[in-house]
Symmetry: C2
């Protein structure tokens, strides 16, 4: 009853290279070369061995290969919180991209703590991962350990860069994103603006805030308040509280993420203020939430697939070609206009 049905037969228990070699009547060395498509094996040998391997359902044991080659075809990835939708989308995209290149993803969540991040990096080393993709938990505190790991194992930073460059980086172009947003708000006659974004723990927090300040100035918009904390819905609600406590609502509020924007709008609504009626709000990221929340969000849509593709391609080229100057790849987001800035 619990016996595997016909289909289960295809999934046999551990057919080994020596089984294939025996069945094909060759040495395991030849079998290995034929399977790997190495030079110096006759064409007929290749055909024969592969047929036998297929018949037996042979699959190379990645553990043995890893021990022998010192390479596991495993890539470790560390995210601060998998629960943030943007990170989840990024992980998803990176996982796809990795599979396409023949790698598997070992995922770890640092919960935003540098110590945990370091512990996980250590485990990745132990596991002989071929490369590491990291969204650093802190642009400064993450530096030292990332640097030393990066000296040994190909590593790429994604979405967030450490303060001092220590590896390749791929992320969104915050400058471009905020320019699209600020110029859009300027066209909407916005004169005063509040900011609700991430703190200095991440490069995005730093860059988005700096861009907003500068671009607002360039466009004769004054930044009347700034609240900076995490990238969560709750932080958005807290930003709304701070704003409400201050007594005046600016013409618009620029949020550092869609999550923040949503928390902000929801809390404002609780207090009787409607968006976009009473103030305009913009987000950052783009995704399902931005499309279905009401009001739909005006936001800078992150090029998630492109970020994932470039991050993996950087990593793979580091793995294969090794050294070289650190690359820094900034990908432009696109402005998506929603109801949150449309009166």
């Amino acid at each position: 009853m619990a016996r595997p049905c016909g289909r289960g037969a295809a999934i046999a228990t551990s057919v080994t290279l020596s089984d294939v070699a025996a069945e094909a009547g060759v040495s395991i060395a030849t079998a290995s070369r034929a399977l790997a498509g190495k030079p110096r094996v006759s064409q007929e040998m290749i055909v024969r061995v592969r047929e036998v391997a297929a018949k037996l359902g042979y699959r190379v044991n990645p553990v043995a290969r890893a021990l022998r080659e010192g390479s596991s075809r495993l890539i470790g990835m560390i995210v601060p919180v998998i629960g943030i939708p943007f990170f989840a989308r990024l992980v998803d995209a990176i996982e796809d991209e990795l599979n396409r290149s023949g790698y598997e993803l070992l995922l770890a969540d640092s919960h935003g703590f540098v110590e945990e991040e370091n512990r996980r990096l250590q485990v990745f080393r132990d596991r002989r991962v071929d490369g590491i993709i990291v969204i650093p938990s802190d642009r400064k505190a993450s530096g030292p350990v990332l640097r030393s790991v990066s000296a040994e194992i190909p590593l790429v930073e994604v979405d967030r860069a450490t303060a001092k460059p220590l590896a390749d980086f791929v992320g969104v172009d915050n400058e471009v994103g905020m320019r699209l947003i600020i110029e859009h708000l300027r066209d909407r006659q916005v004169k005063t603006l509040g900011y609700a974004g991430g703190d200095d723990a991440s490069s995005n927090g730093v860059e988005r805030f700096a861009s907003v300040q500068r671009l607002a100035g360039d466009n004769d918009i004054s930044v009347t308040s700034a609240f900076r904390s995490e990238y969560s819905i709750a932080a958005g609600a807290a930003a709304a509280d701070a704003l409400l406590a201050s007594g005046v609502l600016p013409d618009a509020i620029v949020a550092g993420s869609d999550q923040i924007a949503v928390g902000l709008i929801a809390r404002l609504r609780e207090h009787g203020f409607e968006v976009p009626r009473d103030t305009l709000v913009t987000g950052f990221d783009g995704g399902e939430l931005a499309d279905v929340f009401w009001p739909t969000l005006t936001t800078a849509v992150q090029p998630v697939s492109a970020i994932a593709a470039d991050a993996v391609s950087f990593l793979v080229s580091r793995i294969n070609e090794g050294e070289g100057a650190f690359r820094r790849n900034l990908l432009a987001p696109e402005l998506q206009i929603g109801a949150s800035t449309t009166r």
Copy 2:
């Protein structure tokens, strides 16, 4: 400049067991036993070897150990979509739990496709994972391959069960959850009810709908409409469209997840209908969204940590103790009352 700083020294490149043995002046066999705390090693040997190992920064090579022991201390997990917040929370909780038991998480996303799920299961086998945690993409179609994999590798189903039991299962008690919700609505004088939930692809889709139908009947509430699709915000919006097209709004709408509820409420609002003014809405899952969305959601809060803890404990006991009857562990959710049902 790119040279690792002092700290990097602690992370040396591959100190091997034979390095430790040499330094301690013993055989690698003894070194291995001392480190593993096996019996038949003198206490002083244990102390000496461990000191040397610590001094040298030795860390066992999990790849070599895996090859030798046929066990990788790796657990594979397959989720349908990491982008659904509830799954993200579950993955997070399970990862923590796994680490606590000394396992690492190999994560794969099936994107809801059985073929992809099967492919990933195959890769897990190849990697010699010690166990598998799966949220099946389809209660029926996922069955055959899961069954044959489960015959070889300890496996536990989590959150969603396949139609025929083929492994241990841990998930929320849908019956209890819907009872809490329906009785709450009954107390709110609800007489007619619409349902917007998941389709029959998941056990939750089946069970939640069945529970609602039966419990509504028991409480003199008539189910006037049912829309069943995915567990996404977009599906919630589509459900709202269907409801609006039908021309009448029931007293309340029971959603199969918070995502659905949020999409539903947002779309209703676009059309001028307010919750809870025009109809009550309930969700299912509980999490940040339920708390910060406006109106806050009345929802059945999933015992995520308990589910994760039990799933891992089931898996670990299967790994260590092996065979035994399939267990089915249903954990009760709690009712959280929000503004979406409070007039």
